[in-house]
Amino acid sequence: MRVTAVAALTLLFSSMYIASAESGCTQIQAAAGLCPSATTTDTDVILESSGGSPGSNGSNGGSGGVDASWPDSTGPVDPFADCIYALNSRCLVPGPSRAAEAQPITWADIAAFRPTSGTAAMEPSGWAVTGLDTNFYASSGSQVHEGALLGQPAAVRFTPVGFHWSYGDGSSSSLSSPGAPWASWGVGEFDPTPTSHVYDSPGTYTVTLVIDFAAEYRVGSLPWTSIPGTLAVPANPLEVIAATANTVLVDRECTRNPRGPGC
């Protein structure tokens, strides 16, 4: 999946339905799979007139925060009137009567299609013992971005499916599960977990995590449908200071007994 709003629209477009003021489908509509009566999924959805009905316009997640400026008028303006495609309360593709408003897709629009980054965490926090397992885990959940397509509520859902760790010591791993704290596994400190890593040499390492998100969309009352491909979103980096067990133990002992050996 390419990280552009255009590509995201493409993938949404390729299987979404269009509600029309009148019945019937254009040839391009049918070829593109946008004709409700000419698809293989069960479509008993009654498509209503799209004239001005906004559908759901709650915003959820996403980091695009650009305000759209709606056209001035003497009365209250429905921002979703004649809006072909809206997401996160923003009309991205205005209809024919508002064609003058069409603007190039901006970075804010692109941001609106990206899932919010997950969080990388580690145990112990910020330090590691060489030769022992350091536990890394990610926290990230599904996110739903809601909007409307031609008067039908539309939504995109991002779910984390891959976790790519780079440990800063030249090694990396790609995992399919986020991992969890030792306590969740019911194991002790420095016990191996499916997502732990061993540092061989002392030093300071920067650990980076990139999470792959899978996307699904939904229109009206139709079920969630997968969009092929994944979106890679970096999470926060982690700084790790790795030291030998000796050093760590001595540090501990010296804290307890400053006049002990090696202090």
């Binding site: 390419r2 255009v6 590509a7 629209l9 493409t10 993938l11 949404l12 477009f13 390729s14 299987s15 269009i18 029309s20 003021a21 009148e22 019945s23 019937g24 489908c25 254009t26 040839q27 391009i28 509509q29 049918a30 070829a31 593109a32 799979g33 946008l34 004709c35 009566s37 000419a38 698809t39 293989t40 999924t41 072909i84 495609y85 991205l92 593709v93 209809g95 024919p96 064609a99 897709i105 031609l150 449908t225």
Partner: protein, 177 residues
Amino acid sequence: MRARWMLVATTLTALLLSGCVPDPVSIPAEPTPSAAPVFASEEEALAAAVEAYEAYLAVSDQIAADGGANPERLKDLVTPEWYEKELEVIGLVRAAGIRQVGDSSSRNAALQQFSSTSISIYICADSSNTSFVDSEGIDVTSSSRLTLVTNEVVFDAHDGELLLARSEPWNEASLCE
């Protein structure tokens, strides 16, 4: 109206099952209107409608292949009301940055009715040779679309010119093998 559609469906079904579907099939029309029809015969009306539909498919293919550019190419082929509908879909194609590859085709047309102002046909529209790609050439074709669709197509006739007024999938029978 409903009775006539049932007659059409029954007739088509009978013809298809009996294996003798001449190309094109002509279904008896309702009593002729008082004004002299522009088309002298059912065959002529059907042929004109098929030609108009093929032109509509060709121009639709071109616009979609150009990623939705210059949709006004359809203005001479469809009614103003239908053109608005085309613009909505084409607008999405353009915004999505996708384009069509390959051409549509049609076959097995059957006349429903005709008058001095209107021709209605049934026809199989075939999109199986088409696909959609994004700006990088990645295939984004919908996996849930039906590539063979029997459409009921209505043309408005003015001064011998036909403008597509409506095209709708028709589920009573199939003209696609």
